[in-house]
Amino acid sequence: MSRDAQGGGVLLAGGTVIDILGERRVDVRISGGAIAEVGERLDAADDEVIDVSTMVIAPGFVDLHTHLREPGMTEAETIETGSRAAALGGYTAVVAMPNTDPTQDCVSVVDFVRAEGRRAGLCDVHPSASITVGRAGERLVPFAELAAAGVRIFTDDGSGVQDDGLMRRALEYAGELGLTLAQHCEVSSLTAGAVMHEGECCSHLGLPGWPALAEELMVHRDIELVRLTGSPVHLLHLSTARSVELVRAAKADGLPVTAEATPHHISLTDERLRGFDPLFKVNPPLRTIRDVEEVRRGLIDGTIDAIATDHAPHPGHAKERPLDSAPPGMLGLETAFGVARAHLDLPLRDLIALLSWRPAAIAGLGHLHGRPVEVGEPANLTVLDPSVEWTVDPDALASRSSNTPYRDVPLVGRPRHTFLHGDAVVRDGVATR
């Protein structure tokens, strides 16, 4: 299937490699799906040469949190369109969230998602599975059977597991199998009908609030369950200052807790809801500037392990409903790098770590993605143009939906080429399939 199998490979010439080993100026030859040679001024031979002299060659990004909407909601996105958006965003792997219809809670649905991802061939699609059957919070899924089908991350994302006893048993059972449970932290009795962050803004706008406490209580509970069971937990899309503090303390205690934050929670605040535009409605909600700053700090000091998009496509008409009945969620894959770059004061290498090898390790994909750019490694790479200026045009995005909150926002930096197992799935900012 891959193009280079038919003949010569590709030579990435003149670029800077940034990976887990550091930063160096070398050429990279890709052939047969792998990195064939790395070194200074490599001979082109019969390779196609791509001049990347102003660019950065990095391991492909890994998104821990992508909603591909298939099966069941293909009006919003399909596995193919979402994979294309991912590839354009520099991602070579995504973890597909299980809140599909039917739910990814059994092998047949998980196998379908993986197979469709492979058929699209634009990025590695790794389905997660739910923790409970139908994400109903009542009965556990067959963890071992799903693990045998390749699932490593389990989550009821969209809602948190409310029942303390059930969550404890899930951790005991899944932890023993070497699996990671990922939690959407939200105590639902505190968020009934909630539309936006509970605070000054919602008080003025007359909208039911989603208190920070609803997230923090579950973060706290899960940290204590990790302490009890010893099983790992990954905390999804942290959004509050206190959540970051709780995770920082848990890590200081040596607990196996990891966490992610989204580009929107480090770039936008609840003030954006003043125009009542559902494009800015998301769960957990946009919070205050103090929260935004603490989440940024958490990413910078390593408390939060990864940037994850929570890419959540919705069709245009759904976002034209009144704010309280519009669905929460925003696109993220194609803008993540530029947004994160603009809002995190970090050297490029640290930013790439948050987007690539750290999430790869959490997803159990560290053997395939986020690898060093070394001979013999799988050629899952993204070539970043770190200085290109561009403006977000919702209609020009590859996602089937256009619900980005960054319309007309100028960004700096964008993936230019993406290689998936050696295959150029994105060339010059255009998907090749």
Partner: protein, 322 residues
């Protein structure tokens, strides 16, 4: 300089409010004529778009438009029949295609008038959105306060002390009125239990009505939705009334010139346990009457009614043309 919309108090500001109050005075004068109809908005179309039932507000707007000779159309979509998946935008665009100069919008969801104003070129008048704003109610309340205080020899909003009692959290009336009063220099006190206050206070607040009562010029009672009692936001209706209703005992303690107001409809026995007809300070009926004049002022102002010397008998008699 006129605003294009009246979605919230924000759209007009202090000067705009005072201008609308003066205009309301003129409209009230029209309303007192033998023929209370003028041709100011002849040929203009006002569409009442009510996604939530509200007979009173809808009739008030409809009467106001008709007194200005505007054509009206009314689409009342009871909240029960509004499919959550229905596109608001499609509805509005379809109606606008029929030629609408102003939409009067009532919706159970906060913010809908703001969204609609992005999708159409007509003026948008908010007749109540969710818990958020109800600016014409605030305008008629300000007008009533000004007129009734003037009749009792008091003037201006600067030293006025208004207590708003009850469910502030879920009240668009309280949000608009508080904002408007503060803009005009009045002081506002919110009175009710913490569970009925917004998460962040919009004004100084207290849960002690008895202590607050002595220092108020206006007691503004909010309607207590019975479902709040069912959802345990307050323990029982009986306890709510004991703490926050205007009881005969409290009514006796009100100063002579204290106004008692309510946006209607009243839950007798809940927020008020005394017959308002026997309260000397009650101006609840005047609020309803003034509602028509206030809405006439808003329509006239937004739709750029011309040549309206409403004081002129010539035009007044011209209003008979139809």
């Amino acid at each position: 300089m006129s605003a294009r919309h009246l979605r919230g108090i924000d759209d007009v500001g202090a000067d705009g409010l005072l201008r609308l109050l003066d205009l309301t005075d003129h409209m009230a004068e029209v309303g007192r004529r033998a023929n209370p109809k003028v041709p100011a908005l002849r040929g203009r179309t006002v569409c009442n778009l009510f996604f939530e039932d509200s007979t009173r507000t809808r009739m008030s707007f409809d009467t106001a438009a008709k007194r200005l000779s505007a054509d009206t159309m009314t689409l009342a979509v009871g909240s029960s029949s509004v499919n959550k998946g229905e596109s608001l935008r499609d509805t509005v665009e379809t109606l606008e295609a029929m030629g609408v100069d102003a939409f009067v919008i009532r919706h159970r969801s906060s913010g809908v008038p703001w969204r609609i104003s992005e999708w159409c070129t007509a003026s948008v008048i908010n007749a109540g959105d969710g818990w958020h704003q109800h600016p014409t109610q605030a305008l008629l309340d300000l007008y009533t306060i000004r007129a009734e205080r003037a009749a009792r020899g008091a003037e201006g909003f600067e030293n006025l002390r208004v207590g708003i009692v009850g469910d502030i959290r879920h009240s668009r009336v309280a949000r608009s009125l508080t904002e408007a009063l503060v803009l005009l220099g009045a002081s506002v006190l919110h009175i009710g239990p913490r569970t009925l206050m917004p998460p962040t206070p919009l004004a100084p607040s207290t849960d002690d009505l008895d202590a607050a009562l002595a220092d108020l010029d206006v007691v503004y009672l909010l309607r207590m939705q019975l479902e709040r009692i069912d959802s345990a936001v307050v323990p029982t209706g009986e306890e709510y009334s004991r703490r926050f209703a205007l009881t005969p005992e409290r009514a006796k303690r009100l100063g002579e010139n204290v106004l008692v107001m309510h946006p209607g409809p009243i839950n007798r026995g809940v927020e008020i346990t005394v017959d308002p007809a026997y309260l000397p300070g009650s101006v609840i009926t005047q609020q309803v009457t003034n509602g028509i004049a206030a809405r006439m002022a808003v329509l006239f102002d937004l739709l750029g009614g011309v040549d309206l010397d409403v004081g002129s008998p010539a035009i007044g008699s011209g209003g008979a043309a139809s």
